[in-house]
């Protein structure tokens, strides 16, 4: 049985298992009223998922250069829904699982004074499932469903601290904007299905080349118009989810309002999931396939423009923030701008830079938000002026924060320096877009100033109030911080090895439309042969 793959099945099991656990957790919380039990349960599931994603990642990079296909309900494409796992997807899947696991461990102490943590962990499990599904899926409607799973959990998590009115207000705003985006994506799906007559991603790519999977037949409507509308609307919806300027306006409210580990996940990985879906469409499915109308090229340039705008807006607005979490959230807009700029180039070097930056920024940003969370947990304030000097009494947290800040600002030899260097190189090689390297350098300097402002306040500045009662954050919070910080260093120092062995194969798999389609075609042969 080669067509539906056991390894891809392990990938499909991850979101399924997370949702199963989310289904079970409320019942468990009714039967056993101790939060330790809920935490153990969530932790076990997340550990299993992490192990599964590690297996998938290891297998993909060592034994399989082709995408693997998993068919739900044994229905080959295009009858049923398939997951198509390529190296890029397995990499992002590992990243998601790793970060959610870290955030969960951090949450144990962080949420210790909060009531209703069973709902918090339930939503966290759903959040993980949604993100994983978005990355693994090979079906445009299933992507919509998984976007919803991801977003609904995110709204609930942002509103979790309902006693602060900012959280509820931010969640309502976020929910309205987010639902508009998912609805727009749904309309996009209608156009794709309407004109192509299929929901399978590989089938879409085939139909653009005058070929098809069995059953669905030739396109029904005008695929030129259909794919143009689909791509434009999906682009808009996903750029909103990814918070690329000018669609970033919801992020500075929503991300800081959530509990810090959730901010880390929202900023660290959720926006990247949307970017990844965008990559899938623009680089794998629709790349260079509509010669008569260059919609993909136009969207690529739009993406670059929006990316540049994001970096400028994000970096300048960072400098004027007084709220520690809001400042870090603006940093996300800045970095999502870099990633968008890389994707917009639509070539291997740009994609490699983007993919590497996704990984680096996810880890760095999660680290910063969690470090900020540690300060907030200990002092109870988000205002930089009230946090002055506390860093001296929390050496580990501050050390971790400094590593993360320097890494994100692009100080060599830390992680983001390497990915920014790759982006820099990609732009230098790109011909007339080369002047944009100025943007990259300039905004990095701003970012450094912004992040060091926090460091200055929490460490260098004289305390304005009595901080003698401030102690180092609990071990369960410090350990995740130190793990992430060491990852920032390792990813920086070992960057050449990691880029060559992990990032480049991942980017190549994303650009390889032929193999992606082939996986679906092989599975669909079953229909022709009648079993």
């Amino acid at each position: 049985m080669t067509w539906t793959n056991y390894i891809a099945g392990l990938a499909a099991l991850q979101p399924f298992l997370a949702i199963f656990a989310a289904f079970a957790l409320p019942l468990i919380s009714l039967l056993a009223k101790r939060r330790q039990i809920w935490e153990c349960f969530t932790l076990t599931i997340l550990l299993i998922n992490f192990a599964l994603s590690l297996i998938v990642f290891y297998y993909m990079y060592n034994f399989s250069c082709k995408p693997l296909l998993y068919a739900f309900g044994s229905w080959p494409p295009p009858i049923g829904i398939v997951y198509t796992i390529d190296r890029g997807a397995s990499l992002i899947g590992l990243l998601i699982n790793g970060l959610v696991l870290t955030a969960m461990i951090f949450s144990i102490r962080y949420m210790e004074h909060e009531g209703g943590t069973q709902w918090y962990y339930t939503l966290m499990l759903g959040f993980e499932a949604g993100m994983l599904g978005c990355v693994y899926t090979g079906d445009i409607f299933n992507l919509f469903v998984m976007l919803e799973v991801m977003s609904i959990s995110a709204y609930g998590l942002v509103a979790f601290r309902r006693e602060t009115h900012e959280a509820v207000e931010a969640a309502i705003k976020y929910a309205i904007v987010g639902s508009v985006a998912t609805t727009i994506y749904f309309i996009a799906v209608i156009f794709a299905y309407g004109s192509f007559g299929t929901l399978n991603m590989a089938d879409l790519a085939l139909k653009l080349k005058d070929s098809t999977l069995p059953i669905t037949g030739p396109p029904i409507g005008d695929i030129l118009i259909g794919s143009t509308v689909f791509l434009t609307l999906a682009f808009w919806a996903l750029s909103l989810k990814a918070a690329i300027a000018p669609n970033h306006f919801w992020l500075p409210d929503a991300h800081p309002a959530a509990p810090s580990p959730i901010s880390a996940l929202l900023s660290g990985i959720m926006v990247k999931v949307a970017i990844f879906a965008l990559m899938r469409y623009m680089l794998t499915i629709f790349k260079g396939t509509i010669p008569t109308f260059p919609v993909v090229e136009l969207l690529n340039y739009t993406l670059i423009t929006m990316g540049v705008l994001s970096t400028i807006l994000g970096s300048t607005l960072m400098l004027v923030q007084r709220d520690i979490k809001r400042l870090i959230a603006y940093g996300t807009i800045l970095n999502i701008g870099y990633i968008a700029m890389g994707v917009g180039l639509a070539n291997l070097s740009g994609l490699v830079a983007s993919l590497f930056h996704i990984v680096n920024h996810a880890i760095g940003k999660a680290l910063l938000f969690m470090a900020a969370g540690a300060y907030i947990h200990v002092t109870g304030s988000r205002d930089l002026d009230e946090l002055t000097g506390v860093g001296r009494r929390m050496p580990f947290t501050t050390a971790a924060y400094l590593v993360g800040a320097l890494a994100l600002a692009g100080a060599p030899p830390l992680s983001c320096f390497m990915s920014k260097l790759l982006l820099f190189k990609a732009y230098l090689e790109s011909g007339w877009l080369a002047p944009l390297v100025v943007v990259i350098v300039l905004t990095s300097v701003f970012a450094l100033m912004g992040y060091l402002k926090v460091f200055y306040h929490v460490y260098a500045k004289q305390p304005t109030r009595d901080i003698s009662s401030v102690k180092e954050a609990p071990t369960l919070m410090v350990v995740p911080l130190l793990v992430l910080a060491s990852l920032c260093i390792v990813l920086g120092i070992a960057a050449p090895i990691i880029v060559d062995n992990v990032i480049v194969p991942g980017a190549l798999s994303l650009l390889n439309t032929q193999d992606y389609v082939l996986a679906a075609q092989e599975a669909a042969k079953l229909i022709m042969e009648g079993g």
Partner: protein, 267 residues
């Protein structure tokens, strides 16, 4: 009117116009379509094809077959979307161990007039019965888990409107936790049904009927004389409980009087 509103209005209008033009130009297939799309035709022809069971779902109801078999995992995750939305609501309205219903002295006078109450008393079991029939026939006739669950919740909603929420909690002895349990039982049933093929030793999540290219055995098509369309009947039943209890839970939460909720928040 603010400039912002004008901008939003114009943007929406342009978006709708573009979508309308795209539809006229054939972006969603030529309208009116003279034929059914081939994929839809495939589902219609195969969902209860007794002569070629390779692609069948054993369900005469094509929509249920698509929902729970051909594209089953979508429905699984859509159930999760609804579940997570309700959980978000529960998390927002979480009240730590404080009894709601302190104003019990005036409970007799709560609710609408005696006529409405009597009508509701009659209608209540009838709505529940109809909703159950829609769920039980979901694999045979139009309907299914979500529809029937919504109908069941309507019964409770009318009861809340006519009698107040205390009626459900104290006269019917159904609390928030009961509905939560009922709902979890439904959800876990769905997940276990979906996992069943894995437990039977294959890797096909949510597989219903056997396929020539898969070693997994079929769900039994019928239970004695009762046609169950493989797993679809059970899915519908579990979804019925899930959705019905989920909606009722939300109705119970949003019918907590604001004053009372504020009082509890302040405690």
């Amino acid at each position: 009117m603010k400039t912002k509103d004008v901008v939003i209005g114009i943007t929406t209008a342009i978006l709708l116009l573009v979508i309308a033009i795209a539809i006229i130009l054939g972006g969603t297939g030529w309208t009116p379509l003279t034929e059914i799309r081939l994929l839809a035709k495939f589902y219609l022809e195969n969902c209860f094809n007794l002569f070629d069971k390779n692609y069948w779902a054993a369900s005469p109801e094509a929509v249920s077959a698509m929902l729970w078999d051909y594209r089953g995992i979508d429905t699984y995750y859509e159930t999760a979307v609804f579940f997570l939305a309700v959980i978000s609501g529960v998390a927002l309205f979480r009240i730590a161990e404080v009894k709601v219903g302190a104003i019990s002295s005036m409970r007799r006078e709560l609710g609408l007039s005696i006529i409405v109450k009597t009508v509701t008393r009659i209608a209540f079991p009838l709505i529940i019965t109809v909703s159950a029939s829609v769920a039980l026939h979901g694999h045979l006739t139009p309907g299914g888990g979500f529809q029937s669950g919504s109908m069941m919740a309507v019964a409770f909603l009318t009861a809340i409107a006519a009698f107040s929420r205390y009626f459900i909690e104290e006269n019917l002895k159904l609390t928030k936790d009961n509905f939560l349990t009922l709902r979890s039982v439904g959800l876990i049933t769905i997940a276990i049904l979906a996992l069943a093929p894995i437990l039977a030793g294959s890797i096909a999540l949510m597989q219903n009927q056997a396929k020539p290219w898969s070693s997994t055995p079929s769900f039994p098509e019928a239970l004695g004389i009762l046609w169950t369309a493989g797993s679809i009947f059970y899915y519908n039943l579990a979804e019925f409980l899930t959705v019905g209890a989920g909606f009722t839970l939300l109705f119970l939460l949003i019918s907590i009087p604001e004053e009372e909720f504020r009082r509890i928040l302040r405690l």
